[in-house]
Symmetry: C2
Subunit: 208 residues, 2 copies
């Protein structure tokens, strides 16, 4: 089956956006605030270049990375309910984002505009893609042990040669898995002793 969201379609999407609704494109440098929860201005963001994180800070000040976002991912403050915790989207390196106004999508366009229909359908598929990623994260977090979490994480990201390279840091991976960094290192060592993986600094070979 053909991939739903191929390059051609995404390129068309970006073109259509500027033809139809009011969009703003913006570049963010490392660790800049891209979007925060706001009950008034409902925006959808689309990452055209770079990476970002959905970050949550609770009232004790503990910060956790809720999601990793990359090129062609969407995000929105529409996706978050009001909560005690503060939720932000933060750039991770240089990141280029297109902002789309939610009301423009839903209302403020002639419904017969062919750009508009195409945009809504692409947004629909982008949302499905995001939904899929969230389910994967929930599946990951449903794993009972840290070892199971690590294995699930590695298998999802390894290449054809069963190799995963840590391009970020072990600290970031521990945050993503919601586990203690020291424990992550310990479990990786145990897994190596068990023969499940081979680890050489930032390169891991999965052997199961």
């Amino acid at each position: 089956m053909a991939k739903t969201l191929d390059e051609t379609r995404l390129l068309q999407f970006k073109k259509n956006l500027s033809n139809c609704v009011n969009v703003k494109s913006k570049v963010f440098y490392n660790k800049e605030l891209i979007l925060s929860y706001s009950p008034i201005k409902k925006k959808i963001g689309f990452i055209t270049e770079g990476k970002a994180n959905i970050v949550k800070t609770d009232k004790e000040g503990n910060t956790t990375i809720m999601r990793d976002l990359k090129e062609n991912d969407i995000f929105s403050n529409l996706f978050f309910q009001e909560t005690e915790d503060e939720i932000y989207i933060i750039s991770n390196g240089e990141t280029k984002v297109i902002f789309i106004d939610y009301y423009n999508i839903i209302k403020n366009c002639n419904q017969n505009c062919p750009f508009h229909n195409s945009i809504v359908l692409t947004l629909f598929d982008l949302l499905i893609e995001d939904n899929k990623q969230q389910n994967e994260k929930i599946e990951l977090l449903s794993k009972r042990t840290v070892e199971d979490k690590i294995l699930f994480f590695l298998k999802q990201r390894m290449n054809k040669n069963n190799i995963f390279k840590v391009t970020t840091s072990y600290k970031a991976i521990a945050e993503y898995l919601f586990v203690d960094r020291a424990n992550l290192m310990r479990e990786l060592k145990k897994m190596e002793e068990k023969g499940l993986i081979e680890k050489h600094e930032k390169t891991i070979k999965i052997k199961s």
Copy 2:
């Protein structure tokens, strides 16, 4: 701000569905299989009555409830990537579901059909709502301790009088929180001793 998805709109949505795309409505009794992962037939389901669960079974046979679904929620096999685990949607009591064919939504309709546009926009908002619920679940699972998970869960579901009634079972709640049931009971007792809650069988009063 007005609620995006009100009753009127959802009623209209159901009417439009039958006017535009091919839909099938079906009733399921308790614990029946509503949908399973299928790489061929991509369907979107919409619950008009009752409840359902997204359930995952891993290769060791451990079963976990990934999500709770209720009236007006949508689900789809589009939301799941192929994985070692098996993922199903199972009815929880008598449940009425409308099935919508994905390709009908995306392609097989005259794009100027006013029903179609309205349907896609409602599906879009339903997807956003689902996305929001998933983020809430991720936020819940990001909590470090079982106590934090319980408190977050209770505060989200308590009524104006800070009371939460267990309508399902403690077993089901433990599954939803991905924690051991015995430990859930133990933590609830500790929380009562600390004065955080008051528990009388299936009624919990949150005091913080």
